[in-house]
């Protein structure tokens, strides 16, 4: 390789382009992953944070789910996984995954609007790809 600096330049260029792609990719698409408690804390201390896109994981509060008929709009409240007193309302305008119930852990991506309603663009339920249940539940 020593005899061919031009070739080395080519290799370095490929590495540089890939690094650049990864770098810009991360900085442009990265979102904060917060708990509801952290999100509420940020929104209270810094009102401008409301426009920042975030990802939040929380649990749907049973009984709060309602579907607005004819508008493809879903509304529910989620609470913090550890602190049940921290809650906020969510609006979501897309098809719900099959695994959604009104007692699931969900991961939402979106932003808090001016009225304090979380507008979710994506909703994932968190039971992951294990597809298994704990057989200990079968007891009793």
């Amino acid at each position: 390789m020593k005899k061919h600096p031009r070739f080395l330049v080519g290799l370095v260029a490929v590495a540089a382009v890939v690094t650049y792609l990864i770098w810009t990719g991360v900085s442009e698409t990265m979102v904060y992953y917060l708990t509801p408690a952290e999100l509420m804390a940020k929104v209270t201390t810094d009102p401008s944070f409301k426009d920042v896109g975030v990802k939040v994981s929380g649990r749907v509060i049973p009984g709060t789910y309602e579907r607005v008929e004819g508008q493809l709009l879903h509304r529910f409240r989620v609470r913090d996984l550890e602190d049940p007193s921290v809650t906020f309302p969510v609006e979501y305008r897309d098809a719900l995954p099959d695994t959604f119930t009104d007692d699931t852990e969900v991961v939402l991506e979106g932003r808090m609007d001016a009225n304090g309603v979380f507008q979710a663009n994506t909703l994932l339920t968190k039971c992951g790809s294990r597809y298994e249940a704990a057989p200990e539940d079968l007891k009793g």
């Binding site: 390789m1 005899k3 061919h4 031009r6 070739f7 080519g10 290799l11 490929v14 590495a15 382009v17 890939v18 792609l21 990864i22 810009t24 990719g25 991360v26 442009e28 698409t29 990265m30 979102v31 904060y32 992953y33 917060l34 990802k55 579907r67 008929e69 004819g70 508008q71 493809l72 897309d94 098809a95 719900l96 995954p97 099959d98 695994t99 959604f100 119930t101 991506e109 968190k126 992951g128 790809s129 294990r130 597809y131 298994e132 249940a133 704990a134 057989p135 200990e136 539940d137 079968l138 007891k139």
Partner: protein
């Protein structure tokens, strides 16, 4: 049977350790009796693992819910087919299945090499038994023993997740595992070469077909997974850049790089260290992927804590493999020098090397995107997330570069391409590519990424067709054969080369399909019976979908099914009735929520994909209440998506052509069993 299976698994451990030890010591001391014993121990482990697997299957078939694994993945109502497939339905069985497949491949290797390549075989047997030992240790000591008992016997099991009760999901994991496990064979030969000092291209020649076989299984395994996601997950996509999907893509990317870089070593004696490193890296990634799938590790640090023991065992193994391989490569570094140098940018070596770098770049970006949230959390305490947009942004340009190279690489000259060589090979394809771009642009295709992809696809396809045409014509002239006969002889005389071209054509078709996604149409509407939805296809015609109401049934039909609600939709194209489609919600006895079944009408041009998103009043509908028939309907038009599956089929044909044993070589091999019978189809 099950108790016997558990017993067999315990016996397999000392046998595997015995084989590993004898393989290495026998190789060092050159003692044939030790080596023979090591090789025979592989047959023994294979038999024991077969017994263990039979034990697991017997437990499933016998509804033995006192076993944790059976209780978690089966119930009395499960169809027999899925009970047998229970062996690989979950993590525990999968790990046993992994070891079983590896033992099969190991036995084949030992058997076919029983009278040849003896300088490699002691270490090959040792390495393979080492990997088997590792998996048996995991099964027995990492709290993932499939024979673990619950301590009580439930009346029934949890049942298999209905989303896994799908044909593609049944064959997807075994296919991937075939790919993962068969890659252990080239790895074992590479390590054997490092140990015995035979560092020319011999280990590559011996394992070339294993490499190709592994790559082929990885490829179609991934495609089967895409197909499953497309049919079963009900959101219209086939790839979500989920950590588990990424884990299976990583070894595919490095194996693809390896498949190309070994050709440089064989032809030009270069890249020896690089190839050693790639075979080690790919092997480690197959282990990593096995570990990551179904463990949920990347999701959060919490999952990590739950699986601490298995995580440590796996990380220790991967670390040991890595450290051991690095030490061996460094030790043999003086013997791994290149015999040649790259002379020009415009050469096949350079094209293959760029292909390698770009593939590794893609692999690195996928690893980075997958673990970045963990790294960020560890370093700054701030948890962040990168999702599909990141992977797309990085991998679109990378994919396009690879697409271009898949056309350039095979026809550019070795060493240094002359102006004449470039003109002769690339002038027509470049013109064809530009013409396709111009025509598509004229037809209203203005999406830059899609245009680039389709232009490059035309470029590559024309290169492949011209190559076939030139080869056939030359042969027809020289040998005086008809064109069909000439084509047949052309391909059979060098299966590897022409099979490779066909694989490239399959990959191009898959890229064509990916770019079609730029023109996906997505319409959502709330409909009552009699309502219609108009959807315009990017090809210009208009679909009219008329909702005809819900057909419900409760407690009938398939076993395990509690109720089902089928939305009936009549489809017309430009006013003419085309077909009827259904999309439904089903409730299985074994799951908490209803499942969505989508309705798909697939043509080469596009798929029409219907999703029953929600029902206004589920209970009303199930009671056949005519006023409770309103639904949310989602209609997707997905242009060219079917070409993924057609492309995978072409890729399969190409791989089989390249893998098929060539007749003449086999005759030679039979005449002289000690000869180079494995070395087929050299360029």
């Amino acid at each position: 049977m099950t108790v016997l299976g558990e017993f067999a698994l315990w016996i397999a451990l000392p046998v595997a350790i015995w084989g590993m030890t004898l393989g290495f010591t026998g190789g060092r001391s050159q003692r044939g009796d030790l080596v023979l014993s090591a090789e025979r121990s592989i047959y023994a482990v294979t038999l024991l693992l077969m017994l263990a697997s039979a034990g697991v299957i017997a437990a499933f078939l016998g509804d033995k819910f006192e076993y944790w694994y059976v209780a978690s993945y089966s119930n009395r109502e499960l169809e027999t087919f899925y009970k047998v497939a229970g062996l690989w339905a979950g993590q525990r069985g999968s790990l046993l299945f992994w070891a079983l497949l590896l033992s099969f491949f190991s036995s084949i290797t030992v058997f076919t090499n029983r009278r040849k390549n003896r300088e490699f075989m002691p270490y090959v047997a040792g390495v393979l038994q080492g990997i088997l030992t590792f998996f048996i240790v995991v099964l027995l000591f990492a709290k993932v023993n499939p024979f673990e008992r619950l301590g009580f016997a439930p009346a029934n099991g949890q049942g298999l997740n209905p989303q896994l009760q799908n044909y593609w999901m049944t064959i997807h994991p075994p296919t991937l595992y075939l790919g993962f496990t068969s890659f252990a064979i080239p790895f074992a030969f590479a390590i054997a070469a490092l140990l015995n000092g035979r560092l020319d291209s011999r280990w590559i020649t011996l394992t070339r077909r294993w490499i190709l076989l592994s790559w082929f299984f990885l490829s179609i395994g991934i495609v089967f997974g895409m197909r499953w996601a497309y049919e079963e997950l009900g959101w219209g996509g086939y790839w979500f850049w989920d950590p588990v999907e990424n884990a299976s893509l990583l070894p595919w990317l490095t194996a693809t790089a390896f498949l190309h870089s070994i050709q440089i070593q064989e032809n030009r004696g270069m890249l020896k260290v690089w190839n050693m490193s790639l075979v080690v890296l790919t092997f480690i990634l197959t282990i990593f992927a096995t570990f990551l799938t179904r463990s949920g590790l990347i999701e959060s640090v919490h999952a990590f804590a739950q699986e601490l023991r298995i995580a440590y065992i796996f990380l220790t193994f991967m670390g040991t493999v890595l450290a051991g391989s690095v030490v061996l490569i460094l030790y043999r570094l003086p013997n791994l020098q290149s015999e040649n140098r790259i002379e020009s940018f415009l050469s096949r070596e350079a094209a293959f090397l760029f292909n390698n770098l770009i593939l590794l770049g893609a692999a690195f970006s996928v690893i980075w995107g997958t673990v970045f949230p963990l790294v960020s959390e560890g370093v700054t305490g701030q948890k962040v997330s990168v999702g599909p947009p990141f992977f797309q942004k990085v991998n679109f340009p990378i994919g396009l570069a690879l697409l271009a190279l898949s056309g350039i690489g095979p026809v550019i000259a070795w060493r240094r391409a002359t102006r004449r060589n470039l003109e002769k090979n690339f002038l027509t394809p470049v013109i064809a590519g530009l013409a396709v771009v111009a025509v598509l642009f004229g037809l209203g295709v203005h999406h830059p990424l899609a245009l680039t992809t389709w232009g490059l696809s035309a470029f590559v396809l024309v290169i492949i067709v011209v190559e076939f045409w030139k080869g056939t014509r030359a042969r027809a002239r020289i040998e005086g054969e008809g064109y069909a006969v000439a084509l047949y002889h052309l391909v059979t005389r060098n299966r590897r080369r022409w099979g490779g071209y066909i694989v490239h054509a399959g990959i191009v078709m898959i890229f064509v399909a990916f770019a079609g996604a730029a023109y996906n149409v997505d319409v959502r509407q709330h409909v009552m019976p009699g309502d219609s939805v108009q959807v315009k296809s990017p090809f210009g015609h208009t679909y009219t979908l008329t909702y005809e109401g819900l057909s419900t049934s409760v407690g009938r039909g398939q076993r395990n099914l509690m109720w089902q609600a089928i939305a009936m939709i009549s489809v017309a194209q430009d006013g003419k009735h085309l077909t009827n489609l259904t999309t439904e919600k089903r409730q299985y006895v074994t799951s908490q929520q209803p499942m969505t079944e989508v309705g798909i009408r697939s043509t080469p041009a596009e798929d029409l994909y219907l999703i029953l998103s929600a029902m206004d009043d589920m209970n009303g509908a199930l009671n056949a209440d005519s006023s409770a028939q309103g639904i949310d309907l989602q209609v997707l038009v997905k242009p060219l998506v079917g070409w993924i599956w057609y492309g995978a089929l072409v890729l399969t044909v190409g791989s089989l052509i390249a893998l098929w044993p060539s007749v003449e070589k086999r005759r030679v091999a039979e005449a002289a069993p000690t000869g180079e019978s494995v070395a087929v189809g050299a360029d």
